[in-house]
C-alpha cells in the first residue's frame, strides 16, 4: 500500500520569490487535496501568491472553469464533450495535465469475509441500473455468498469518481442504480460502509489507506489497488489518472499561475505522496512537462 506522506517539504528554491496575485482553482473534491498539497509546498517558495481551492465537483468545476472564473480546474476524469464545447463557446483554451494517479477502490466492511475479490461483471451486476430494486442480497451476486442484505454507498453524481466508475463498470457515464446512498463527501461513504456488514462502496484509494481496519478494499479481477498496481497498470479498469486543467491564457498572462503549475509538475511526486495519491510515472511526468513547454 501507499505510505502516508512524511512531513519534510521540498523547499528547494529560495522562499519568497516576490510573486503576488491569486490562483483560483475549483473542481473535484477528490483532486482537491492534491492541489492543496501543491499549494502548501508552493507557499514556501512564493508566499505572496494566494491559492484557493473550491470543491464543486469535477462537473461543477468545469462549469466555472469554462466561464473563465478559475485558472485551474481539478478533475477526476477527462473533460466531457459538452463541457469542452462550453469552453470553446466561451473562448477558453486549456491544457489537460495528468497530475497524479488514483486507484478507484471498491470497499466493503472489514467483517465481510466473502467478497474479497470481485469481477467487473459482478460489480456491474451489483451496481448496474438493472440491479435497482432487484439485487438486494449478496447471495444474488454469487450463490456461495451468505444471505446478507446489500447496502450501497458511493460518490455523489457531480463527482468525477461517479462518472469514472459508472463509465468503467456499467459502460455508460451516469448509468447506475439509484437506490444507493450517494455522497459528495467520501468520508460519509466510509462511515456508511464501516457501519454495515453488508455494505459496499467505492471511492479513492487514499481513503482506503487512511481507514485500514475501518473498511477494506476489494480486489478487482484479482488485483488489489495499490501504488504499484496502479502505476504499473495492472489495476484495471479502475486505476485512473487525476487531472488538472489549466487555462492557457492564465498560464501565459499570469506569472503566478505559470509559476504554480510549473512547480506542481516539477514536484508531482512529492505532492502526490503528501496527498496520499499514487505519483506519476516517469513517462507521465515527461508528457506533462512537454505539454507545458509547448505553451511557452
Amino acid at each position: 500500500g501507499g505510505q502516508p506522506s512524511g512531513g519534510d517539504t521540498s523547499g528547494s528554491g529560495a522562499s519568497g520569490g516576490g510573486l503576488t496575485g491569486s490562483v483560483n482553482t475549483d473542481g473535484s473534491s477528490t483532486v482537491a487535496p492534491l492541489t492543496e498539497a501543491a499549494a502548501d509546498l508552493f507557499r514556501d517558495e512564493e508566499s505572496g501568491v494566494n491559492v484557493s481551492v473550491a470543491t464543486s465537483g469535477t462537473g461543477g468545476g468545469f462549469k466555472t472553469f469554462c466561464a473563465g472564473e478559475t485558472d485551474v480546474s481539478n478533475a477526476s476524469r477527462p473533460i466531457k464533450d459538452e463541457e469542452a464545447a462550453d469552453c470553446e463557446a466561451a473562448g477558453i483554451k486549456y491544457t489537460e495535465i495528468v497530475a497524479a494517479n488514483d486507484g478507484l477502490s471498491v470497499i466493503v466492511n472489514p467483517e465481510n469475509d466473502w467478497a474479497e475479490d470481485l469481477t467487473v461483471e459482478q460489480l456491474n451486476l451489483i451496481w448496474g441500473p438493472e440491479a435497482e430494486g432487484k439485487i438486494t442480497n449478496w447471495n444474488q451476486v454469487d450463490p456461495s455468498f451468505p444471505d446478507q442484505a446489500i447496502t450501497l454507498f458511493g460518490a455523489g453524481t457531480d463527482s468525477g469518481t461517479f462518472d469514472y466508475f459508472t463509465e468503467e463498470i456499467n459502460g455508460e457515464d451516469g448509468a447506475i442504480r439509484t437506490d444507493y446512498s450517494p455522497s459528495e463527501d467520501d468520508n460519509i461513504t466510509i462511515q456508511g460502509v464501516a457501519g454495515d456488514v453488508g455494505a459496499i462502496g467505492f471511492l479513492g484509494l487514499s481513503y482506503v489507506e487512511e481507514n485500514e481496519g475501518v473498511v477494506k478494499a476489494v480486489a478487482v479481477d484479482g488485483v488489489m489497488p495499490s501504488t504499484e498496481t496502479v502505476q504499473d497498470g495492472t489495476y484495471t479498469p479502475l486505476g485512473r489518472p487525476l487531472f488538472i486543467y489549466v487555462n492557457n491564457a492564465s498560464y501565459v498572462d499570469k506569472e503566478q499561475v505559470k509559476s504554480f503549475i510549473d512547480f506542481y509538475v516539477a514536484n508531482s511526486a512529492e505532492i502526490a505522496e503528501r496527498a496520499l495519491f499514487v505519483p506519476l510515472t516517469e513517462d507521465q511526468v515527461t508528457t506533462a512537462t512537454d505539454e507545458l513547454a509547448s505553451l511557452g
Binding site: D26, T55, S56, G57, G59, G60, G61, K63, T64, P129, T151, F153, G156, T157, D158, S159, T166, E172, D173, G174, A175, I176, T178, D179, Y180, S181, P182, S183, E184, D185, I188, Q191, G192, V193, A194, G195, D196, A199
Partner: protein, 318 residues
C-alpha cells in the same frame, strides 16, 4: 428671579390675539425622510419574501415544464441526477416526516417539561441560570450536532451500545439529535405562554387548596394551550427546515422510509447534498434544487401561519 420662562398667554397680556398661525405646523422635512427610510427598511422584509418566491418559482416553473406536478408530488422514486432520472418527491417527504416526528417525540415532552419547570417551579434566580444554559442547546452549530448524531448517537449509542440493526445512518439518530436541538425553542415559547397566564389564576387555584401540580396541569396548561400548540408547531417548522444534521446523519439515499432505523434523504438533505456539487444555472438539476426548495418553503409557510395564529390567540387572551 429672572423671568426666563415667560408666560405667553398669561393674564397680563390679556387674551393674546391668536393669529390663525399660532399652531401652524413647522415643516419637518428631515422627520419625513427618516420615516420614509424606516418604512423602506421595513419593506425590505417584504422584498425578501417576494424575492424568495421569485427565486424559487422561476426555476421551479422550468422544472415543472419538464416534470408534471403530479409526478413530482406523488412519485415514489427520487433519482433526479441519474441517467435514468425520476422525480417523485415522496421519498424525501417521508424522510422529512420521520425526522420531524422523531424530533418532536423528543422535543415536545422534554421541552414542555423544561418550560413547566422554569415557568411554574423555578425561582427567578434558578431560572436565570437554567434558561441561558438551556439556550446553549439552540446555539450549538448544527454542523457540530450533525457529527455528534452520526458518530456518537448512531455509531456509539444505537449500534455499539443498543446493538440495533441499523447501518451507518438513520433518520432515528438525526431525529433524536434534532429533537434535542429543538428543546429550547419549544421550551422558550411554551414558557412565554405559561408566564402569560395571569398570576391571578394560579392564586385562585391555590386559594382553593390545589397544589402546584394540580394548578399547573388543570389551570395553567389549559389556559396556555394555544401558546403550547404554537410552540409545538414552531418546533415542527424548525425540524422540517433543519439541514446540516440530516445532511450528515440521516444518510443520502432517497428512499421511502418505513423504518426509522433506515437511512433516508430529507428535502433539506437533498438540497444541501446537491448543492455541494455545482449545478449549471438553468439545467434540470439546478431547477430540481429549487422545486424541492419551493415545496419546503410552502410547507414551512403553512406551518408558520398555523403557529402564528396560535401565538396570536394566546397573546390576545390575556
Amino acid at each position: 428671579m429672572t423671568a426666563i420662562i415667560e408666560r405667553r398667554g398669561g393674564p397680563a397680556s390679556g387674551r393674546a390675539p391668536a393669529p390663525a398661525s399660532s399652531f401652524a405646523g413647522r415643516r419637518r422635512p428631515g422627520e419625513f425622510l427618516i420615516k420614509l427610510a424606516l418604512r423602506l427598511a421595513a419593506a425590505v422584509t417584504v422584498v425578501t419574501t417576494v424575492g424568495i418566491l421569485i427565486a424559487l418559482l422561476i426555476p421551479s416553473l422550468s422544472f415543472f415544464a419538464e416534470v408534471p406536478v403530479l409526478e413530482f408530488l406523488f412519485g415514489t422514486r427520487w433519482a433526479p441526477r441519474f441517467a435514468d432520472a425520476s422525480f417523485g418527491v415522496l421519498p424525501l417527504v417521508t424522510a422529512t416526516l420521520w425526522t420531524t416526528l422523531i424530533a418532536l417525540l423528543v422535543a415536545v415532552p422534554f421541552g414542555l417539561g423544561a418550560a413547566t419547570l422554569l415557568a411554574e417551579y423555578a425561582r427567578p434566580r434558578v431560572r436565570k441560570v437554567l434558561k441561558p444554559l438551556l439556550e446553549i442547546l439552540a446555539g450549538i452549530p448544527t454542523v457540530v450536532y450533525g457529527f455528534f448524531a452520526l458518530q456518537f448517537v448512531q455509531g456509539t449509542v444505537l449500534r455499539d451500545w443498543l446493538h440495533l440493526p441499523t447501518g451507518a445512518f438513520s433518520v432515528l439518530a438525526a431525529g433524536l439529535v434534532m429533537g434535542v436541538m429543538i428543546i429550547p425553542t419549544i421550551a422558550s415559547i411554551a414558557e412565554d405562554a405559561m408566564s402569560a397566564v395571569p398570576q391571578a389564576l394560579r392564586q385562585g387555584s391555590a386559594a382553593l387548596g390545589a397544589n402546584r401540580m394540580q394548578t399547573t396541569l388543570r389551570v395553567v396548561f389549559p389556559a396556555a394551550l394555544s401558546g403550547i400548540v404554537a410552540a409545538v408547531v414552531l418546533g415542527i417548522s424548525r425540524a422540517v427546515g433543519e439541514t446540516m444534521i440530516v445532511a450528515i446523519a440521516a444518510g443520502n439515499q432517497a428512499q421511502l422510509v418505513t423504518n426509522p432505523l433506515d437511512q433516508g434523504q430529507t428535502m433539506t438533505g437533498f438540497i444541501a447534498n446537491a448543492a455541494l456539487g455545482d449545478s449549471r444555472v438553468g439545467s434540470l438539476e439546478y431547477n430540481t434544487l429549487f422545486a424541492v426548495g419551493l415545496l419546503l418553503f410552502l410547507i414551512t409557510l403553512l406551518i408558520n401561519f398555523i403557529s402564528i395564529r396560535f401565538v396570536r390567540r394566546f397573546r390576545e387572551a390575556y
